[in-house]
Point group: C2
Chain length 221, copies 2
DNA sequence: CTATCAAACGAGCGATTGTTTGGCAAATTT
DNA sequence: AAATTTGCCAAACAATCGCTCGTTTGATAG
């Protein structure tokens, strides 16, 4: 049951059946409403877009009323920024973990591509990349969003810089097209297609990687 | 004067007979209101997104009142579909023109890429590709939109099929990543960057094309 | 002159939008 | 036990949404 509006307030006058942990250990994430709102908002933003999703939709999916959202978030826009930040955090962490132990430049790129696709397609609700230049009404938070993206793209830039590209290829354009192809997967990927996200990412690198020349195999580290 | 709400109402000397009746003097292109609405709608959809653009915005930019839009278009959604169709038409025509006289398979791909980028970035208002899975509210028109896209992608499919790809590369994935990288350019391209759209497209093909082997230089078939 | 028609106006409909406010029970702190 | 904070409800708010509809204007055809 994906949608379970649990309204555990106001009602229990005296009865024993407690829905929550009787003693919510302060450490143990006492049924974090804020997180729950974030998840539902992400799902709806991804499914319908920012503008088409109303705060009542989000509240309803969470099991609370619209006005109650404003206890946790100052505005709908701030909620969007929070979802975006969570997504970028996943993306950055996944990518860094993936390339940490890989030495060969092209293998690093392949690892990064696989990680990018995996995060993008398996946590897709949080990956609001494809909201093109994001909702125009986002206004004041725009710079913050761009900063979050740049932080990730810097990682890819560094991996690309390690490649030994022919002089005819502009590394910047290489990175832009590389990330572009990966990001676009979100608009055509279907889980049932038999291809895993990681395979899709690695295949892209296979297209870009220069063919191994029979004469020279593994020249050096 | 970029935005000139020209309210020359009551004025249409030859009132653009969109539907029926008399012979529409084809000579003077009599200030087609429908076309004008289409252009303004495209600009606003591209700038702010479908949901964030109100019919009053569009009417205002055109120099008429909101209600008057409904003489030309049955609904806001139908207007969106019309803009999308116009964009796809541009894209299809541009691509077909570009590859018509090119024989070499990789050169054909380069020509298609250059054409795609040019159409995408220079008529960008009409290219509503990046509206992710388009507005969910589009509902009943969804199939029509998909059909319009598939018609274009079929052209690229045919060009890709002409390539002599290594057996490790799936042509379908090649096409998806290829189109993905091209479509994504819309989210980072800035006209002042010194790169032309055509160059950006050709550079992508340069990254994908296998390096010319010094020994064999003859273009077979 | 009269009838018809395209094209727009202008008012307003009901519904929905994001947000604010006041209050209240439960949980926590003092 | 008292005081305070937390988390939410319930109701409203002004603004805006897509859209409808009766009316009016100017042009053209018979």
């Amino acid at each position: 049951m994906p949608r379970a509006p649990q309204r555990l307030t106001r009602k229990p006058a005296t009865p024993a059946p407690r829905r929550t942990r009787p003693v919510p250990k302060p450490e143990a994430m006492p049924f974090d409403r804020r997180q729950q709102i974030l998840v539902e908002a992400a799902r709806l933003f991804a499914a319908k877009g920012f503008e088409a999703t109303s705060v009542r939709d989000i509240a309803n999916a969470t099991g609370i009323l619209a006005g109650s959202l404003y206890y946790h978030f100052a505005s709908k826009e701030e909620l969007f920024v929070a979802v975006h930040a969570a997504g970028m955090e996943i993306l950055i962490r996944t990518a860094q973990d993936a390339i940490r132990d890989v030495r060969d430049p092209w293998d690093r790129l392949a690892a990064a591509a696989a990680a990018h696709c995996t995060a993008l397609l398996e946590s897709s609700d949080f990956m609001l990349l494809v909201v093109p230049n994001f909702p125009k009404s986002i206004g004041q938070y725009r710079d913050e969003l761009i900063r979050q993206r740049d932080e990730y793209e810097a990682i890819i830039s560094q991996v690309v810089a390690g490649l030994d590209l022919p002089p005819t290829i502009d590394p910047r354009l290489f990175r832009l097209h590389f990330i572009g192809a990966l990001n676009w997967t979100q608009s055509w990927f279907r889980p049932a297609s038999g291809l895993t996200p990681a395979e899709i990412g690695r295949q892209l690198v296979a297209m870009l990687r220069p063919p191994t020349i029979p004469g020279s195999e593994s020249p050096s580290s």
